[in-house]
Symmetry: C2
Subunit: 373 residues, 2 copies
Amino acid sequence: MSRLVTGVRSFSTAASSMLAGVTSARSAGHPSSFQVFRDVPQLRQLRRQLLRNDRSVGFVPTMGALHEGHLSLIREAARENTDIFVSIFVNPTQFGVNEDLSSYPRTWDSDVEKLEQLNEELAKATAAGSDTPTGRISAIFAPTSKVMYPSMPPSSEIDGDGSFVTITPLSKKLEGGSRPVFFRGVATVCMKLFNAVTPDRVYFGQKDIQQTVIIKRMVQDFLIGTEVRIVSTTREPTGLALSSRNVYLGERRRAVGLTIYKALKAADEAYRSGKTSREDILGAARSVTKRVLAEQEALSPTERALFEADYISLADPDTLDELDLVDRSKGAVLSAALKMAPLEETKPGEDCGLGDGKVAVRLIDNIILQPQQ
Amino acid sequence: MSRLVTGVRSFSTAASSMLAGVTSARSAGHPSSFQVFRDVPQLRQLRRQLLRNDRSVGFVPTMGALHEGHLSLIREAARENTDIFVSIFVNPTQFGVNEDLSSYPRTWDSDVEKLEQLNEELAKATAAGSDTPTGRISAIFAPTSKVMYPSMPPSSEIDGDGSFVTITPLSKKLEGGSRPVFFRGVATVCMKLFNAVTPDRVYFGQKDIQQTVIIKRMVQDFLIGTEVRIVSTTREPTGLALSSRNVYLGERRRAVGLTIYKALKAADEAYRSGKTSREDILGAARSVTKRVLAEQEALSPTERALFEADYISLADPDTLDELDLVDRSKGAVLSAALKMAPLEETKPGEDCGLGDGKVAVRLIDNIILQPQQ
C-alpha cells in the first residue's frame, strides 16, 4: 500500500477542478456536507473512526452520471446506516476494447450538486422528526485510475494480464455473452472498492440484475463481511428504466425504447395468469417486440426508430441458467436487452438527445417473476 | 453470507475429533488458550470485538502440518500484535488435478498441541518481563471446504468454473510454470481468509518467495487494508529449509536435498564477490548441482539419491521477470526447485521417511540477493 499517494480534500463547487487540493467550504457560508477522497489511506482512517464510534456505513458504488436511480439507492442506504459513502469512478476494465469508455458521460459538477441537495433533503427529513432518523452522505470516494489499478495499466483484453476477480460461469451469461470482460471488470473493481470502504451494507439497483447476482455471489464466495441490498428499479413515469445512457435517446427513441419494458410486462402477465413454460412466457414478450418493430418499419425514416432485440431471457435467479419451465416456488428472472439503432433521418428542431441521435443505445431491463405459494 | 452455518467451539484435546461441537476445556484443569472456529460469523464477532477494544490482529495462514517455520511466523506476529489468528485449511484449489491433495499431511492433534505450547511460551516471555510484551494466539480458524467454497465445488481445472482471484503474469512464472492452478488457488483462498479475518498484518515465510510476491501484489492491487510481513526462512542446522514435505525425505534424501541450498549459496557468493551476469551467478549454482549429481550417480542404488533440477531462476524482486544482469541497487531473487526422485533401493533399517522413500519430493528454496550501495 506504500505506493499510494495520500490525498483528501473537502469538496468545493467554487473550485470544481478534481485536481485542486482544496477546501472545506462549498461556497461562502455553505460548508460542504461531505468530504471527497481521491485516495485510500484517509478514507480508511475515517472508516475506522466511524467503526470505533459504532456508526454504520452504507456504500453506493457508481460511475457518476447520477440520476434518480442512484439517489434511490442512497435514500435506501440512509434508512439503514448512519453514514453513506458514494464512489464515483468510471471503471476502465469493464469496458471492452471497442466499447464506449471515452463516451461514457462524466458529469462531476452536477453529480456533486445532486449529492449536496440529497444531503439537505436527508437532513430536513430528520429535522422534521420523521419516524426513523436518516443517515447522511459522509464521503465521496473519487479515485484516480492509478489508485484503483496501482501496479499495471488496466487491461480490457479478455486475455490481458492483471489482477482480476472472475466469477464464472455467471459472468459469461446474458450481458456477458456480448461483453466478455464486463463482469470481470465489475467484480474486480467492486472487490477493490469494498476493501477500501469496508461497508456494513452495499446497495445495487435491480436494473442491472446480472450484476446483483454476481455481486451477491462474490460476497458469498469470498467471505466478504458486508450485506448486499438490491433496490428496485427506478423508472420514468412511462415505465422506462432510468439509465445514464438514456441521455443519448432523444424523444423518438425514448418512446420506442419503452418497448423493452412493455415486452417484459406482457411476459410477467403471462406468468401471473398461470403460464410457466418458456414458450408461453417469452412468446408473450416477443409478440410485443415484433408488433412494435413492424409498426416502426411501416413509418418513414424521419418518424421511426428501429431496434433489435439482443436477447430475452428467462433464467434461474441464483445461477442465471436458462429455464424451460419456471418453478413457481422459486420464481425466475426475466430480462432483456434491446439495441436502439441510430436515427436514420432527423427532423428540424427534433430532440434527438446527446449525440444528435447518431449513437446506438443499448437498453437493458428486467422483471423478477415472483415466487408464489 | 446467509448460507454459512454458524459454528464455533473451544478446542479440546480430549475430544479431538474436528466435528465434535465441544468444549471449553483443553483437559481437566487446563483451559484451552484459544478458540477454534469452524465458520465465519463468530470469528467475525471476535474480530470486531477486538477492533473495538483497540487490539491488533496478526494473521498466519497455514495448511497445518505445522513446523518451526510456521512457529517463527507466529512468534514474529506476537511481537507486533496483541492477538494472533492462525488458520489451518488444506486448500483444494491450489492442488492441480494430478497433484498430492490427498497425500498432503494432516496432523490436527499435533498442530494444536504445538500452538498450545507456543502460547505457553509466549505467556512466559511476557510474565518474565521481556522488554516487549508479546501477543498470544487467540483463534484458530479451521473451516470446512464448504465454508471456504460455499456455492460451487472447488475446481482444480485451469479452465474450471468458480470464483477466483488471478494475478498474472506473476502467477505463470517459476512455480506457476509447472503448476498452472497453484497461485490462482493461493490468491483465491488468501482473499477469502483475509476477508474473514480482516487482520492488521499478515505473515508469510520467505521460503515461498513467489507466494510472497503475489500476496504483496494482491494486497496492493485490491486495496486490502492489511500489511504484509515476510519472515526469513527457518532452516535445519544443516541449512535445509523447513517444509511440511520434508517428512517424506528420510535421511539419505535429506542429506542430498541440501544441494539446493548449497547451489543457491554458491550463486549468492558469486554475486557478493562482484558478479552480476546471469551466466556467472547461475553458473555457480549449476556447477554445484552437476557435481553432486555426478557423485550420486557413481554410487550404488542402495547408497545414492538422485534428483533433477526443475529450474534455477534469477529474477526481478517485484515482477519475477528473469534477469540477464542484476541491478545491484535493486538486488534479485535467486530461487530453485529440485525434485528428489524416489529411492531406487532401500537398506534394512534405513530411515526412509514417511512413505518409505517411494514418494518423489519437490524441494524449493531461495535467497534474496541483497541490494547494495
